[in-house]
Symmetry: C2
Subunit: 430 residues, 2 copies
């Protein structure tokens, strides 16, 4: 823990500087993986499964039967929990559907936007010990709401060639159209390029290790879009004298357990709360099963005591945290001051894990300072907004002169002529 | 012109394949330019101005006086035209402002989104013969509407060190906060890294040559966002028997005059209209001042005769044009079939140049097939949407069990504990 009391303002940016992510030079490896997938398609994926995951499987596509079986392998309790989360996430994302609004900008000139789903999207879910079925909810639900025709999911198999049943169950529940047993950079390559089994998609979503992140960036060379740039997960908590140290400590630790590179920042305006939260964090840490990871993350965490909540918000805006928790009594009045954050949790009972799982908001959020220029995933991430316009003859008469003058001033005479020829024909007819 | 009558469906994708853009290996050059700007700041920009633009200037920042003078250098007619365009663009983009809608997903759990402007944005406007003041309108108006605090504009000076007055006038009119005389990759580097005069920005917008495009991509390594990937401009026109060949030809040529790599596609279901449009295109071409560029572009253009409008729309969706013109009598009924397009122009009087300049829609649109996965620039491009949530004590009681079960199933016990500790405290208090 790095503890600072009332640091000078000029030291702030240095104080909360994120560690520079050492990106290994893996472009060459990624490029080779893409090449192999391009050349050998499904067979390349089968070979990579053997090599990287130790799984010998013949068919990378998960069968209907496997999906059906998954349902019997998970508890009713978990099914009900997933169901409640699904309902909330659906409710919140459905509220993001916008109605078409036609605007008559000039008499006879009508403009509007309509949403169209991105037809084919791909979701990547990492393997490993934690089966991230919550991320399946966060990506498949808005994809289905948006109306994406193909929603494919890739995730690495375990050594026995199986996928965690919670992932399969959730994928089916949320309208994923096909699931494939392939992970890492090769899964991203398959979704970008297509194979015999996997249809190439237009946009790829989902978290992953540095190879997956690098592969998503590389996929953009093939005209595939990605959800957003990636970085380690972060939380920043601002606590006043009414905050509850045990709650703050639990929130900080829930971020720290994500991994040793997680970023954890605690700002308080109350010295007692400040000191108690530090104590509580150390106390709770000892009781955690994954405390090694959390311990590492806490080494780089910052506990900073400040004079005012407004100062704390200034520092937070400078940092632009992925998650921002306002453990403040009068949080409402500070909302307008929040400029840069991915998702904000208000009051003592809005813990980050509510948003991570079940409150309804999306947990795919901008990290690494990208909250300054990116939004988290929402329904918008799965649609294009197409503009439409209709000019009547009268409309073009009202606007034509303006277009002609501007086109000529830019030296674009064919642009001008597209108007002139229409106005002229009109005059001749009249 | 490449003319095809009733081509077999299986040949479509080959037929309308875009030419592969030969991207020269300029990453090394771009990287060096970034390095120079990083090391020498403003002086690097001054040196580059001399080297690339032949301009010797001492101060890269455009002075208040230069901006004031610009107003007297352009005609009242042009000022009025710019004013009408500004009003329409403002009206359309202001309609994109969304109200905050609070959603109670579970009793006591309230979620919503709020927009926050990206604080600092940069606009790049290319130099050359055509002063693209229309692009200033298209980027500065939504930036100002969104509430961006800093809107900086970079554009290269001419040999005498001056900026086109129409650009200066429009920039001032639309709330650009600072204008700098610098162009090319070095301007992008300056906006990404910052110099003594130029503040680094969080997102860069605007068109440019291959160096600018490559520099925008490179800027992303410095956590800067960009508007969208770039490619040559395109139009696809679908015409039925009620289309007017002279209008269609004028629209095709207005696209062709953009440059020799412009893409122009004409689809018709009526052989007479088809043949007449080809004739008209050749006739009108001769009268154009910039006909050399248009002539080159037309060499790669496609004129394709098809059986039905639905077929034409299928082919259009496959191609995903930046601009789509429906010169169809009953265009309304085909709107739902449009899946992939940047901006759509409906009927015989909705010429593309209306949208390029003054109807109100944005002209910064996805090219090169990116209409499959990207939207054009809109108000959304200048804001982040931050999610908020507030759970009351009762709200967490209603949702807590679900979060605990899910967190445990993912093996994230600190996530679970952030809920348990709150529920426990509640029980103790009760």
């Amino acid at each position: 823990m790095q503890i600072n009391k009332y640091p000078e303002r000029k030291s702030w940016s240095e104080l909360i500087k994120r560690p520079v992510i050492k990106r290994e030079e893996i472009t060459e490896i990624i490029s080779q993986i893409f090449q192999k997938v391009k050349e050998n398609g499904d067979q390349a994926l089968i070979d990579f499964n053997k090599k990287f995951d130790g799984a010998e499987i013949k068919n990378i596509k998960v069968s209907e039967k496997e999906i059906e079986n998954a349902e019997s392998l998970i508890s009713n309790e978990l099914k009900e929990a997933i169901q409640q989360a699904k309902e909330n996430i659906t409710k919140f994302h459905a509220s993001q559907i916008t109605a078409v609004e036609k605007i008559e900008t000039t008499k006879g000139v009508v403009c509007w936007r309509e949403n169209r789903a991105i037809e084919k999207v791909g979701i990547y879910i990492p393997g490993g010990t934690a089966p991230l079925f919550s991320t399946v909810l966060m990506l498949a639900i808005p994809a289905q709401l948006a109306g994406c025709k193909e929603i494919i999911l890739c995730t690495p198999p375990d050594k026995n060639g199986n996928i965690n049943p919670a992932i399969l169950y959730t994928a089916k529940l949320c309208g994923v159209t096909q699931i494939f047993k392939t992970g890492g950079a090769q899964a991203i390559a398959a979704m970008a390029l297509g194979t015999e089994s996997i249809s190439n998609v237009y946009k790829i979503f989902g978290p992953g290790n540095q190879y997956v992140v690098a592969a998503k960036e590389f996929a953009q060379n093939y005209n595939v879009a990605i959800d957003m740039p990636a970085g380690p997960s972060e939380v920043l908590v601002i606590a006043d004298e009414k905050a509850i140290p045990a709650f703050c400590a639990a929130d900080l630790l829930s971020q720290a357990e994500h991994g040793s590179d997680s970023q954890v920042i605690f700002l308080s305006t109350d010295e007692e709360i400040f000191n108690q939260t530090i104590e509580e964090t150390e106390k709770q840490l000892k009781e955690l099963p994954r405390n090694q990871l959390a311990k590492e993350a806490l080494k780089n965490s910052h506990f900073i005591l400040l004079d005012t909540v407004n100062e704390a918000l200034e520092l937070s805006n400078l940092y632009a945290p992925e998650h921002l928790i306002l453990a403040l009594e009068d949080f409402e009045k500070y909302i307008p001051n929040i400029q840069n954050a991915g998702s904000v949790f208000l009051g003592n009972y809005s813990c980050e894990s509510a948003g991570d799982y079940a409150s309804g908001t999306n947990h795919t959020l901008p990290t690494n300072g990208f909250a300054k220029n990116y939004s988290g995933v929402s329904l918008d991430s799965f649609v294009k907004k197409i503009t439409f316009q209709n000019l009547s003859q009268k409309g073009l008469q009202n606007l034509g002169k303006t277009i002609e003058i501007m086109a000529e001033a830019e030296g674009l005479f064919a642009h001008k002529n597209a108007v002139s020829i229409r106005l002229k024909q009109e005059n001749e007819r009249v």
